[in-house]
Symmetry: C2
Subunit: 418 residues, 2 copies
């Protein structure tokens, strides 16, 4: 396919994350103005509301851009998603007739503040990366029985908290919680000492369902993907998670990259799941390549210091695709809605520099890592900024996700001290 050329000159380089091939969807504001929908093209954002009002983005099913979220576009369904993408590519292609009108609808990304691009209906997080599950199981159980018996048969998932999903750039306050160290007889209420990140991808459900769907149907329901950091308080989790799973350990924040990269933009990068140790039951079986070849990195920057790359992995390392996760999610008849967010689970590769969490990188704190700046880390420290980034490399072009970052603020004083 190659790089598609745009009249927005900054979009036309092999390494730019937002060429005409990409066109990811976000919500932005400039100055104190109300947030509105926009599409990234090169270093600019096409203001969709302005373009709609100028008659350049009008559709029979619209208006779509009088609200500051993409859920209404999602609800319009896959046929409309394709129509919208085709229109945007036409408008922004080299030689487009409407160029001069559209130029008045462009905003520089450097001038824009980004917001959550959609209303998160509900949030589900999975535990579907094999190397992560193996590492965690090896640490807390033993390597011979690292994977729970169900792990190779279903994508293990749990419901997370939608209210604490935030956009990249939002600082994250170190949480308090009830903890019990193995050497104490009683639990205590303390700030988390083992606060961690998890490198994940988020899949966004675009079309609703109220019945069990097949893997193929599920794949078609997915509107797009973002980078996702599932901030995790390991010490709170260790105390609370038996028998009903993580709760407050995962409720402080979940950060998303601000641009929804559509399935259509990612189509050239489809990749297959790894070979199966045991055959999946028919309803979860692979029917085609539904992962994506996306290079993912995590880096950490202590306060006032340059970043150190912690990890580099790939979305292909997942054992289950988002489509398989979504199909499993509907087996009970659970209704799914536009804006439902599915976290992939932590994505780690087979080697140490591919591990997607500090828990794995420092092996539970037993093997702290040394940053390029000389600092040592087992878990996140106050002032650290953790940044995820991701991109897929095509023939002469890049599909980028931008970044998903958050700075750790110190815990509040004891919220219950009076």
């Amino acid at each position: 396919m190659g790089l598609m050329k745009s009249w927005v000159a900054s979009a036309n380089t092999v390494d730019h994350p937002f060429p005409l091939n990409n066109l990811p969807y976000g919500v932005f504001s400039v100055g104190g103005d109300d947030p509105r929908c926009g599409v990234a093209i090169g270093d600019m954002i096409l203001d969709c509301l302005a373009a709609e009002e100028a008659g350049l983005l009008e559709f029979d099913e619209g208006p779509f851009f009088d609200v500051p979220f993409w859920n209404e576009v999602m609800e319009a369904g896959p046929r409309f998603w394709a129509e919208l993408r085709a229109r945007l590519q036409e408008l922004l292609a080299e030689g487009a007739a409407a160029r001069s009108e559209l130029e008045t609808c462009l905003v520089a990304q450097v001038d824009a503040e980004m917001h959550l691009p959609f209303l998160v209906a509900e949030y589900t997080d999975f535990y579907a990366g094999r190397h992560h599950a193996f590492n965690v199981g090896s640490m807390f159980r033993d390597p011979a029985n690292a994977l729970p018996p169900n792990w190779l048969h279903i994508p293990i998932g749990y419901n997370g908290r939608a209210s604490s999903v935030v956009v990249s750039g939002t600082p994250v306050r170190r949480p308090w919680g009830q903890l019990k160290s193995p050497d104490h007889a009683q639990p205590a209420f303390l700030p988390s000492r083992r606060f961690d990140f998890e490198l994940e991808m988020g899949a966004i459900v675009g079309t609703p369902s109220d019945r069990p769907v097949t893997v193929d149907e599920a794949d078609a329901m997915i509107f797009g993907y973002v980078l996702l950091n599932d901030w995790s308080a390991r010490d709170i989790q260790a105390w609370e998670y038996q028998p009903l799973g993580p709760f407050q350990a995962k409720a402080t924040a979940t950060s998303l990259s601000p641009w929804i990269v559509t399935q259509a933009a990612l189509a050239p990068f489809r990749a297959s799941c790894p070979p199966r140790d045991v055959e999946l039951l028919p309803h979860l079986r692979d029917t085609g390549p539904m992962l994506y070849d996306i290079t993912l990195t995590a880096s950490i920057a202590p306060e006032g210091k340059p970043p150190t790359k912690l990890s580099q992995t790939n979305y292909r390392e997942m054992y289950y695709s988002a489509a398989q996760q979504l199909a499993h999610h509907t087996t009970s008849g659970c209704p799914m809605n536009p804006g439902d967010l599915l976290g992939s689970g932590t994505i780690s590769g087979p080697t140490k520099p591919e591990r997607g969490s500090l828990l794995e990188l420092s092996w539970g704190g037993k093997d702290p890592i040394t940053l390029d700046t000389g600092e040592v880390r087992s878990f996140l420290e106050d002032g650290d900024t953790l940044t995820l980034s991701g991109h897929a490399k095509g023939d002469g072009f890049t599909i980028g996700f931008g970044t998903c970052s958050g700075k750790i603020l110190p815990a509040l004083p004891d919220p219950y001290a009076r």
Copy 2:
């Protein structure tokens, strides 16, 4: 206090669930009309939209009743909740001046269809009834270690699925799911064979918070209570729940009674939590009576047969109050929103006829129960209607919740057969 007299005559009996003392909030429709907010009084419903349009329920902060849910009233905060309740009691009291105008705003409950009374923002379910946790722990582990180590220190909770919350009367379809019986080497995809109910109360968060709140603050945030049935597929749960908790086992449906009984109506019935085996940490400690003396029953009616009472228990049997659950829920900084629903966890009493689930009543199917009609049950059968009911008995009056019921429909044919 005694029975408060209303000009709606049916409300003035000692056993009626909806006297002037109660005034629970629901959403109803008549014929094919749009759903709207209403208040139960005796056998009637006061149509709040009609009363608002007639100028009888007007407030500076309004309008409130141009939408078919109570979330906007919740968002107006506790001072407004008190003002609204006082106005309604004035309007509906014996001798009210506006009686003749109001009479045109009344609808008979028998003519109304009930809907979910609020938009469920997110749903959290707890495991905070001691007898239930002890029974389940005894069955699946052993009586000496029935309670997990954290159980006496925090209300164990997990996030549930808001999209599958339904109003009483909605039929519930037996789910399919991945199961593995202990005597099979491999899991299979089958309709659940151990589909169960859980007798619970639901607490509805009325006011938002974005920081850790105290137990007293949490108590003041609660708008009201409903009956809640957390339908549970025990066989799906057994296979999926390690290590991250229940997921599809609880995602088919959660049923609510249609009337939100306000905290104010329940005030005369406040009750203390049971004595503590170990002292709670200060931020979760009891600061006053925050449970309620509410008699709760579960009954089952096989298709075409009369009901058998399965269980009678009391909301006082909880180990943790909804206020303690909500305080714990905020410790991580997790934002809470109007319309968040907190399930108490299954409420069982100390004796067998007080058990709030078939899992406990039939001891995991080992000790099936015989109904009054002669049928035998270990778990729910197709065609069974399971009904929860609840009320608090005052001096000369009753505060009733109505009922929360659902009929089990047979599983669909294999949803993946092609």
